[in-house]
Point group: C2
Chain length 337, copies 2
Amino acid sequence: MTRRRTERPTLADVAALCGVSTITVSRWFREPQRVAPEASERIRAAVEQLNYVPNLTAGGLASARSRVVAMVVPNISGPIFAPTLQALSDGLAEHGLQLLLASSYFSMEAEERAVRAFLGWNPAALVLTSRFHTPATERLIAGAAQPVIETWDLDPTRPAFQVGFSHRQVGRDAARYLLDRGHRKIGFVHNSAAGDLSAQERYAGYAEVMQAAGLAPWGHTPTAADPMQAGAQALEALLARKRQRPEALIFANDNLACGAILAGQRLGLRLPQDLAIFGFGDYAFADKLLPSLSTIRPPAREMGRAAVDIVVRLQAGETDVARVVELRCEVVARESA
Amino acid sequence: MTRRRTERPTLADVAALCGVSTITVSRWFREPQRVAPEASERIRAAVEQLNYVPNLTAGGLASARSRVVAMVVPNISGPIFAPTLQALSDGLAEHGLQLLLASSYFSMEAEERAVRAFLGWNPAALVLTSRFHTPATERLIAGAAQPVIETWDLDPTRPAFQVGFSHRQVGRDAARYLLDRGHRKIGFVHNSAAGDLSAQERYAGYAEVMQAAGLAPWGHTPTAADPMQAGAQALEALLARKRQRPEALIFANDNLACGAILAGQRLGLRLPQDLAIFGFGDYAFADKLLPSLSTIRPPAREMGRAAVDIVVRLQAGETDVARVVELRCEVVARESA
DNA sequence: TTGTAAGCGTTATCAT
DNA sequence: ATGATAACGCTTACAA
């Protein structure tokens, strides 16, 4: 019975060419020091001559392990997760691990589809972005032999490894920064997308600091769906206020803040003298605006690296790997506030 | 002999639970219409009860095929390739294909390592970014059973599938755009990174159109390594010229152009009246600058989609798939020129 | 429509 | 240091 097979040479071809058994060639790849020097040299030559590439599918099946790490991110090309993804990818590559990637667009169903497909590859680890999943996903990852790492969010009560930062602390830091600069009338501009739980935590941190300073926190929610437009809309609405005209605004993210800066420029506003603007995210354009945007940089790359670190330690068989890694954000003081 | 195995249920477990043979369950996943309705229902229930996930490693080995597409990009988080990557990822997901990803940072050696590792997965296709590879990579892909798709660059003489656009045409379009607006003293600012062959092709297109219009093309190469600084440096150097002070500048990419716009703003220059600035790439920040940047948008998403299209057609067994897909760029007229 | 048997190319186990 | 053999979990080929 002849089956379809690839035309690529196999371990058996290499072994035949240099007169050893397949297992010796297999060992040469995985534990070269255990193969005699002469045999090693013959194998090396044969591998090169045949242009042999090990079949990882077969190896993965036989060993029930794989050198792949699967990750699901909300999106690849946006300004938010790309640095984390890049850092993860680079870190994995350094350790000879490969990256299987899918984007969910914040849909838990899409995440579930990706997780389901990925688990079929027996990845060395599964890296997710967020702690909110469908019940089926929860069941899948609970039953999975693979370690699961949740990034960006941080919930110490969950069973998965956690790598993230405190959004509440971000809100606190932003409020303190503006208070320290002498502002008192400080508002918070939400994004129009309802259900951004992280942004609500940032608001809570802001409110906490304001109240501690004896000031009343207040938020404004624009209606425009496009973040840049929403930012512009919020700026105009708040400047038009007679009472409680703000001195400083904390925006839920840099996109909103960018919309506000551009709108302010076109209105002839002097920034930050007339109004201080503060963002969140330190997106790639933040230093390219005029005035450049003061904001808070989340530890995006650091999270990618921390996830790699966990994977590598687990691969090495370490058992005392910390389950929660809390990283700090950094205030980036620029011109807009 | 007991081997380590995953604790996950197997096809055999599902089959035993519902009283059919493994092959029937296997068929239910791949060709559900060939399984009787009653059997289908029992299988569905068993799969759900056991939370069964097919082992793709085993399936891939048995069928010598996989539902994975491997891609190597220079970088993930930069403004250039991210949209292509995102489009590819999304398109693959729609067709139930998965993405294996690595970044090369423009290193052909890194690309070779990635290609070597990826081929071990028997991917359905290999997508590369650029047509320049090490000899070993060339040998690997020549001997590979997998189709190879090269994107961004375009070289019809190469054996691989080509999905890209003409950089020369980009240069022509930029020059014509500025000529049409009445400019005559038009210069080209190279990036300081030597060996950017694509940028040189864009220069050639610009030079071609200038000469056809009876004008002398000229280029300037800044020395600063950082693109934003290089752009600023070029602006200052060229404005200081007594003779041949330019009316318009085409920058090799949007990063350079951005540096020039910011420098111009801080110098109090009126843009575009005092100087028209034109970029290439339509990076995410292009519409956030003041003045917003006129530039040329490469068909980044379209390339991702075209690559998916090729993969899907080949998977479906089509034989008359076009080997070269040339896509058009789009001039994005904004405020800076 | 369903089933049997034989692999796919590698690695784990045990033996020499 | 090296090898023989039996898995790993699935799909192909063929048969019923």
